[in-house]
Symmetry: C2
Subunit: 351 residues, 2 copies
């Protein structure tokens, strides 16, 4: 993977040399960061605000495949995935800590590439890297990111606040990341079988980018503030629309009606899913890794948001006894199913 | 490892089933925890205080060996190691997030054991588990813990505050954890060569416990407050006394004199090190995993602390040009050497 590049063995540097090398380019941009890397703990200051904390673990072979994931993109994605959780609370993300477990196949240059992607993401989203841990690993690449942010108490959106009649909204479009992954895995398979065939991702930029380099929807949180909308409940779409809607409903003790025809799916996602004999709606429901925001708003707020091209109203909240249902394009009613871990394996049997 | 016990395959439960199962026993004890597990992020409130954050990654085969580490102890230790960083800032730890990567060899019962140790540690130290992530792992057990705490701004002890003439103090005793590890590794080797020979740890409880079940020194932070001592600098001893003293000196831009004869070493550590043909002082300097607190105090504070059996004054801070030196029992002067990752491999060549 790194054959043609300069290779500096991390074991030559030692832990402290590695830490110096990767933390050299860290700058602090938030006034809430009182002390970043370099002590036993970071010191943060959120005067009058609530502190938000979320954490995610990314493991090689489970969450990413280095055969087709550039390290810089992986670093970028590792940050986005985490910031998304803070935005899903209707908060602003301000800091992250980054822990890395590195197997001996990774030279310093690889770690620097990974870190560069992290720093680009942090800079773009106004977030400081304030701490972390580095370790050797016998087990491939391990990335653990904890994100920290803040919100005024009255701004925080929990999963549990949805009320009967609230409109269910989702930002952006869904399913693209999952379909992009199918494409990357197919190209990998072709490449392994015949290394002289170069991957053909022509015209598939959008769905590939959605998989490799997702963007957390800070802009949606800002837009909601601008429109003076406080969602009654919110969650980010990491496991697929279906299980996220179910989380909102269960934690709010409500039911829902979702309309298949309202689920936003990009044309490229739709076409490529069809090429793979996948149902585009199932990709949106169970694919995951979209990192869009799913939220509920009061009907009275509909007029404020209806002009936004970036938000789709896909259904509404019902009383709990009505169940959690999807109304298909043909008018058939399907109960929603939750997907966790093994969604990717099960999806093909879901049609 | 789990052959004789009940085995519930985690893949049967799914991610959400696993999360339900392990979070069922979580209780909240801190008023600063506004919302714990169960949403996109935890919500914390540190009115008028600074927030402290630290994170550590523990990887199977690098940081722990499941051949001789009971999972309950491992869970306990994973928490302690992290809390130690918050205490090293002179703060109080209040929350942790816990991420686990689990390979298929771990049944639910194993995860529950690990988690039980974590909950015991959290309960004992008054800390809430407020979030985390669970994932399958192709790579053995991965544990990532982020600890969160608070302190008044004026109470926080950085590594950088040591002044010339300050006394260098350390809590407890050093080297025991490293020597305990040598003993466990020897018994493992004997057991592998001849499984009919049962491990003989008779009379070695203290050093084995120091390795398997360390305690973060919350009590020392409380004692310092009680004595109205604010250390001028503080750090916890995770990599060995030598590299921690060097961190304090470098970040304070100072030198130091350490006295070998003052370094606190438990008699069992001393004897066992000798049995292994190890220099007990080198074990204290470079062994690590003691999780004691190393701190500097003004000379004027000496009278307040001199009666404490749990704190040793082991040297003093000098001007930077005097270097960082250890005065041996025979009066010889040695420059201190830093150890990072590979300390355990290099230590035997250090005498």
């Amino acid at each position: 993977m790194f054959e043609n590049k300069e290779r500096t063995d991390i074991s030559e540097l030692g832990e402290f040399g590695l830490i110096d090398s990767i933390t050299r380019n860290i700058t602090i941009s938030n006034s809430s960061t009182k002390k970043g890397v370099g002590d036993d703990a970071a010191v943060l200051s959120f005067e009058g605000k609530k502190t938000l904390i979320s954490t995610d673990l990314l493991l090689e072979g489970i969450h990413f495949d280095l055969m087709f994931t550039p390290l810089k993109h992986l670093g970028y994605k590792a940050i986005q995935v985490n910031l998304s959780d803070i935005y899903a609370m209707n908060g602003m993300a301000t800091q992250v800590t980054v822990s890395l477990g590195l197997s001996s196949k990774f030279p310093l240059e690889a770690v620097e590439e990974l870190y560069e992607g992290m720093l680009i993401a942090c800079k773009k989203y106004g977030v400081d890297i304030v701490g972390g841990d580095t370790s050797s690993s016998r087990q491939g690449l391990v990335i653990s990111v904890t994100s920290i942010g803040y919100a005024d108490e009255e701004e925080i959106c929990y999963r549990s606040g949805a009320e009967e009649g609230d409109l269910i909204c989702v930002s952006g479009d869904l399913g693209a990341s999952y379909v992009g992954l199918q494409l990357l895995e197919l190209e990998k398979k072709i490449f392994i079988e015949n290394p002289s065939i170069q991957p053909d991702l022509e015209g598939k930029d959008y769905i590939v980018e959605r998989q490799l380099k997702p963007e957390a929807r800070k802009d949606i949180v800002e837009m909601l503030k601008e429109f003076s909308i406080k969602p009654t409940a919110m969650i980010d779409v990491s496991d697929g629309l279906s299980s996220e809607v179910m989380h909102l409903c269960k934690q709010s003790d409500k039911g829902c009606k979702l309309y298949e025809e309202k689920i936003p799916i990009d044309p490229m996602t739709y076409e490529t899913a069809r090429e793979f004999n996948l149902d585009p709606t199932v990709c949106a429901l169970s694919g995951g890794e979209d990192y869009e925001l799913l939220f509920t708003i009061k009907q009275a707020d509909y007029d404020k948001i209806k002009g936004s091209a970036d938000v789709s109203v896909i259904g509404y909240i019902t009383e709990p006894s009505a169940g959690m249902e999807l109304i298909s394009k043909s008018g058939r009613v399907h109960p929603l199913k939750a997907q966790g871990w093994n969604a990717f394996n099960k999806i093909s049997g879901e049609n």
